[in-house]
């Protein structure tokens, strides 16, 4: 028997459900307080809401999913499930405390809760690094995951530095430049790098294809890494050279897009389910985000009210557009599988078990998809114009999309408490929505 296995489902599900709860609170918050997007983006409430999204929603889900996917994607076993459970507790205390302390702008307490969160991240990075150390062979997926872990570590250190600099005013760097550099480390280095890396495994897996050009895939990771290293330094120093490094990153993303298109063109499964549509739409949103990023990196760009609002749109499109939509798409793959595996895998061959696609509603997926896209477009335009009531309307659409997602995921989770098993000779008269690969 191979020395490989995935951790128990309760571990990733704990992180994922925490993340979904944070997303619901975050979307409700923006709907109730649209001024956070319609007004200037550097204030206690905006910083608190941003950390709720990036730590509570995005980090929780990515970390939980990584504990499940990394052993499977890299054909090894997780170094320690016990450490991962400790990480969950530290993460929960850390991010909730940080968000609350950002709200009252108590930077000393932000630093304390940030240290708790950082300890958890340390366990996460150590656990995955030990897991990576035992993989049979390195590939683009492993290199990308290792890169993203490195960037995550730097993001956390930069965050702690920012909190300390607020307390003791020792930093030689301009405060907004520090904050933007920290945000790019996390957003590009951890989130985008992780999405890019695992997609080299998941997109072929779910479309029945293969990576078409390993050099092109590796090249995209190299450009992203080199570009981000340069971008971090040049943003921190407020250097005009940041345009060059932003262009390097855009080139890396173009190589990535080229490879994804090649993977899709070679796929054996022609019909795309909604989970993949969410994910691929998120990847397409990298185009406007990159374009806006290059505009905002332009040397001597005048610091006007419009520029500040465009920075908010850039953050919105990156974190809510690209990252959130990509995660929703992947969750529509990961959560049904986890639940199906926990509820039905032991019964295969002994009872009639439902197909994976019978666990959720494709109609709700479609409704959620369009609500999300219309809400995102509406919110982006309203944010650029600084129009508060239109931001509220756009965020309400996003909140509606999140609610639909939660209802659908709730349907999936109901199989954990009430599995629908049938006798093997049961002949169903109900049509199923299973779509065989073509």
């Amino acid at each position: 028997m191979a020395d490989v296995h995935a951790p128990s489902v309760s571990l990733p599900l704990g992180f994922i459900l925490t993340g979904i709860a944070a997303l619901l609170v975050g979307a409700s918050w923006l709907t109730a307080r649209p001024i956070n997007l319609a007004g200037y983006h550097y204030g206690p409430e905006v910083v608190a809401a941003t950390h709720l999204f990036v730590l509570g929603w995005i980090c929780s889900v990515i970390m939980g999913t990584m504990y499940q996917l990394v052993p499977v994607a890299l054909e090894t076993r997780l170094h320690s499930e016990r450490l991962a459970r400790w990480h969950f507790g530290l993460h929960l205390v850390g991010f909730v405390g940080m968000v609350m302390m950002f709200l009252v702008w108590d930077m000393k307490q932000v630093g304390h809760f940030g240290s708790v969160l950082a300890t958890g991240v340390g366990l996460f990075v150590y656990n995955l690094a030990r897991t990576l150390a035992r993989i049979p062979r390195w590939n683009v997926v492993a290199i990308g995951i290792a890169s993203s872990l490195g960037w995550l570590s730097l993001t956390i250190l930069a965050g702690l530095y920012l909190a300390a600099a607020k307390c003791w005013s020792f930093s030689p760097f301009e405060p907004m430049a520090q904050m933007h550099a920290h945000a790019h480390l996390g957003g590009l280095g951890f989130f985008v790098m992780m999405i890019v890396s695992v997609s080299f495994k998941l997109v072929p897996m779910f479309t029945l294809s293969e990576v078409q050009n390993h050099r092109r895939a590796g090249g995209s990771l190299a450009l992203l890494n080199a570009g981000l290293a340069g971008l971090f330094v040049t943003i921190l120093l407020s250097s005009p050279w940041k345009l060059v490094f932003a262009s390097v990153i855009a080139t890396g993303l173009a190589f990535y897009g080229w490879e994804v298109i090649a993977i899709l063109q070679a796929r054996k499964r022609r019909n795309r389910d909604w989970g993949m549509r969410y994910f691929l739409t998120a990847l397409a949103l990298l185009i406007p985000v990159s374009g806006l990023g290059i505009v905002l990196a332009w040397p001597r760009l005048p610091a006007t009210e419009l520029t500040a609002q465009l920075e908010s749109v850039y953050g919105l499109l990156a974190f809510i557009g690209v990252v959130t939509l990509a995660i929703l798409g992947m969750l529509y793959k990961v959560v049904p599988f986890l639940v199906w595996y926990a509820s039905y895998s032991k019964a295969i061959g002994r009872s009639k078990v439902p197909a994976l696609a019978d666990l959720y509603s494709p109609a709700l997926q479609a409704v959620g998809y369009w609500l999300f896209l219309v809400g995102l477009a509406f919110t982006s335009v309203a944010t650029a114009l600084g129009h508060e009531s239109c931001v509220r309307a756009g965020c309400a659409l996003l909140l509606a999309s999140v609610t639909v997602f939660i209802v659908n995921i709730g349907t999936v989770l109901s199989h954990l408490v009430r599995p629908r098993l049938m006798p093997l000779d049961f002949k169903s008269t109900q049509p199923t929505n299973t779509q065989p690969p073509s």
């Binding site: 028997m1 191979a2 490989v4 296995h5 995935a6 052993p71 499977v72 054909e75 897996m205 779910f206 029945l208 293969e210 054996k268 499964r269 599988f337 199906w340 595996y341 895998s345 032991k346 295969i348 061959g349 002994r350 078990v353 994976l356 690969p437």
Partner: protein, 74 residues
């Protein structure tokens, strides 16, 4: 002992269908036969289920990038 071999080709199926096909075939496997299952990927989630059912599985990667898992009674 000359054991019968039952072959299953579960390539081209989206997860978790390969696992379903293999375990359904396994439930009807004759007493002294072994199952050779061909998949696109190493069937990581299959191993604990084989163990629970009193089987062992050994997986080897093939030259074409597919995997063959040989499943026997423990």
């Amino acid at each position: 002992m000359n054991e019968a071999i039952v072959n299953v080709d579960a390539r081209g199926l989206e997860p978790p269908q390969p696992m379903v096909v293999i375990l359904e075939t396994l439930s009807e496997l004759p007493e002294c036969a072994e199952l050779h299952a061909r998949t696109d990927r190493r069937p990581l989630h299959l191993y604990p289920l084989l163990e629970q059912r009193g089987f062992t599985g050994e997986t080897e990667e093939q030259n074409d990038g597919s995997f063959i898992t040989i499943i026997r009674r423990a």
